[in-house]
């Protein structure tokens, strides 16, 4: 399987996810949307597996390859949220966001080759990046919740249920961020000699982590404002974006290579 087949697989998946979204609004049972979502995920998963095999390395090296995982995990996060909390709108929103990343990948494909630099050849590589991508998807989904909440504002009925849903998603998300970050630290010790060197990427990972810690602790007080909580979520997600790809454009990142030598 090569990158050339991405168009067919991704369009097939998007179609299945779209059907799943529509069926969630039409059908009373959750089983129909579940089946179509799962079908799309399997199809997309097959492409990732095929790419992995043909590249003879985990497809996690380039920015486009991380986008690939993101567009896989978002619909999954949407599905899990829907199954647990019954909010239908999370389905089309995650599909839409996933489609954005798929389109970026089609319009602006990466150079995929088999070469993997020695530092990346580690058993930590795949779990570290995959768990991070999963957390990004989950936290992306909860950002949609935050935006939804802030836009709807007063008109929302069951706000406490939405807040509890957001809490659950953030707890799972920050758990994965913590796991990904610490796995990265253990790996860095093995590859570069130190577990934390405040390289720009690491700094922004720490900032992201602190952002979600603020949310968790703020929410512990029952009298905390829901609106402020949602705004914290959006700020934290901006930090996450900087960590994911924004660092490449920062002046401080020019030094990144020096700190790694």
């Amino acid at each position: 399987m090569t990158w050339d087949s991405f168009l067919y697989f991704s369009m097939g998946s998007l179609l299945l996810w779209g059907i799943s979204d529509i069926s969630a609004y039409i059908s009373r049972e959750k089983i129909t949307p579940l089946i179509f979502r799962a079908g799309g995920l399997i199809l997309f998963g097959l492409f990732i597996a095929g790419l992995w095999i043909s590249l003879e390395r985990p497809p996690l090296r380039t920015m486009g390859e991380t986008r690939l995982w993101y567009s896989f995990f978002l619909p999954l996060a949407g599905l899990l949220t829907y199954m647990r909390w019954d909010y239908k709108w999370i389905l089309p929103f995650t599909t839409l966001l996933s489609a954005v990343f798929i389109i970026i990948n089609i319009a602006n494909p990466d150079i995929h080759n088999k070469a993997l630099m020695p530092a990346l050849q580690s058993p930590w590589f795949a779990p570290h990046v995959i768990i991070y991508m999963f957390s990004y998807a989950l936290l992306g989904a909860v950002t949609l919740v935050a935006i939804y909440y802030l836009v709807k504002g007063e008109k929302l009925k069951n706000t406490s249920k939405i807040m509890i849903m957001a809490d659950n998603m953030v707890y799972a998300g920050i758990a994965c961020v913590t796991l990904g970050m610490l796995m990265g630290a253990l790996w860095a010790k093995e590859a570069w000699g130190h577990y934390w060197s405040w390289d720009p990427k690491e700094t922004w990972a720490a900032a992201t982590w602190l952002g979600y810690l603020i949310y968790i602790h703020y929410r512990l007080k029952k009298r905390s404002s829901n609106k402020t909580s949602m705004i914290i979520l959006i700020i934290a997600f901006i930090l996450l974006q900087i960590c994911w790809y924004g660092v490449n454009y920062l002046p401080s990142a020019q030094q990144s290579i020096h700190t790694y030598t």
């Binding site: 530092a119 913590t178 602190l210």
Partner: protein, 438 residues
């Protein structure tokens, strides 16, 4: 208990006091930076850091047990002090992420002279404000954890202790241990034994161990072909450069609009040039280069072009194959797949050990870790020297205890979720409606 009718500094303290105290911590740091100059980590190396750490922990415990009835001490174990402390640390992290950082070894004169340098923020992680913030967070973490033991314990507290005590241990170990960290490089050439390391400042240090380099091996990926513009040398198509990695003789492919067929492959070749053209012959020796023979066709040309392409080595120049006026086929240097040093290690106690060191596979001896660091670039895969990095970090075990606790705490959080899950939904609705009434 309505917070708004309360004057500032009047009990119970809330977020405003939290932000004032946290800002005060940063301000103290800035003042210290201005008066005492930059924090020199060497001054806090062993045994000073052990002393500081012990004093800190004993101090926390003492204050806690003497004053645990005091409302101010109690306040240090609430969200009202926690949140501003994390916010302030986050702000410092963001600044750290935006402004370029300089190594601790950098001289004063190498730093830009502006507002940030007087705050010490070009070396943020060793600035007074950053370090004090970390300690302030540690104080809160310590009090929170201690205070938590006084309430009735439930299974949820396991997660709390794993996360908070874990972070306390990892952070304290990391902050105090950073001044004991030693990183040296050691360059060894094949057949020789070396026991001297070089610090980042260029000082030579004698080590309690010696490394003999028995052999050094580099494995490379298969060679790649690219089409380049004759004039600019850029890889085509310029918008999205393509490359083709060798897959076998007789394989055909399309590259930047040109059809290629690989007709021969020499992993070890020598290039001889006479006045007219260059000859490529198989020859296995130090300095031989990889070469691919390729037949290229493209629209508008009836006669295919065929010839050798190689990426050269320190001994031979590279060879390209011209397709037409504008384009040529070329072979970029091969990417390194793996490099490994086969060594014999001698320790002070007279132990001898054979080992292989690779990237991601360091060797650990006593408190030292030996890493494959680099090699002689100019000779590429024929390098006969290997560069190692030797790292000494006696605090690593403490930090790892903290990291493992945090990892377990994260798994706990993932499984258990927020505490409100255990509350009845009606109870939460009640709180919500209270909020609306207010």
């Amino acid at each position: 208990m309505n917070n708004s009718s309360r004057k500032i500094w009047e009990n119970p303290w809330g977020y405003p006091e939290g932000f004032i105290v946290a800002a005060g911590v940063v301000l103290t740091g800035i003042l210290l930076q201005a008066t005492t100059g930059k924090l020199n980590p060497d001054l806090y190396a062993y045994p000073v850091n052990v002393f500081v750490g012990a004093l800190f922990v004993i101090g926390l415990l003492t204050i806690y047990f003497i004053f645990n009835k005091s409302r101010s001490v109690r306040w240090f174990s609430t969200v009202y002090s926690t949140l501003p402390a994390i916010v302030v640390l986050l702000v410092l992290c963001i600044i750290l992420g935006f402004i370029p950082q300089f190594p601790i070894t950098a001289e004063e004169s190498q730093l830009p002279l502006d507002f940030f340098s007087s705050l010490g923020w070009y070396q943020m992680t060793t600035s007074w404000s950053f370090v004090l913030c970390c300690f302030y967070l540690l104080i809160i973490l310590g009090f929170t954890t201690l205070y938590r033991t006084t309430r009735r314990q439930s299974w949820r507290d396991i997660g709390f202790y794993l996360n908070h005590l874990g972070l306390f241990i990892a952070l304290l170990g990391g902050v105090l241990g950073s001044s004991d960290l030693v990183r040296l490089t050691m360059t060894v050439s094949k057949g020789n034994t070396e026991w001297r390391g070089t610090t980042h400042k260029g000082e030579i240090v004698e080590m309690p161990l010696a490394i003999q380099l028995d052999s050094f091996i580099i494995e490379e990926y298969e060679p790649k072909l690219v089409v380049i513009d004759n004039e600019t040398g850029r890889i085509l198509p310029e918008a999205r450069p393509e490359s083709y990695m060798y897959e076998g003789i007789g394989k055909k492919t399309q590259l930047a609009g040109i059809s290629l067929e690989v007709t021969d492959y020499l992993p070890y070749a020598a290039v001889f040039r006479d006045s007219v053209h260059s000859n490529i012959v198989p020859m296995k020796m130090d300095g031989s280069t990889a070469a691919l023979k390729v037949k290229a066709t493209h629209e508008g040309i009836t006669q295919p072009v065929e010839g050798w392409i190689s990426n050269g080595s320190y001994l031979f120049p590279h060879s390209i194959l011209q397709i037409d006026e504008n384009r040529s086929l070329a072979m970029p240097p091969q990417e390194v797949k793996k490099y490994s040093s086969h060594i014999t290690l001698y320790t002070e106690e007279g132990k001898t050990e054979k080992a292989v060191i690779e990237v991601n596979k360091p060797l650990s001896v006593n408190n030292w870790m030996i890493y494959q660091y680099s090699y002689d670039d100019s000779k590429g895969k024929y390098s006969d020297t290997s560069v190692f990095e030797l790292v000494y970090d006696p605090w690593l075990k403490i930090v790892y205890i903290g990291i493992v606790m945090l990892l377990s705490g994260a798994i706990f959080l993932f499984v258990a979720g927020p505490e409100t899950n255990n509350l009845k939904i009606e109870k939460i609705a009640e709180i919500e409606s209270d909020k609306i009434k207010k």
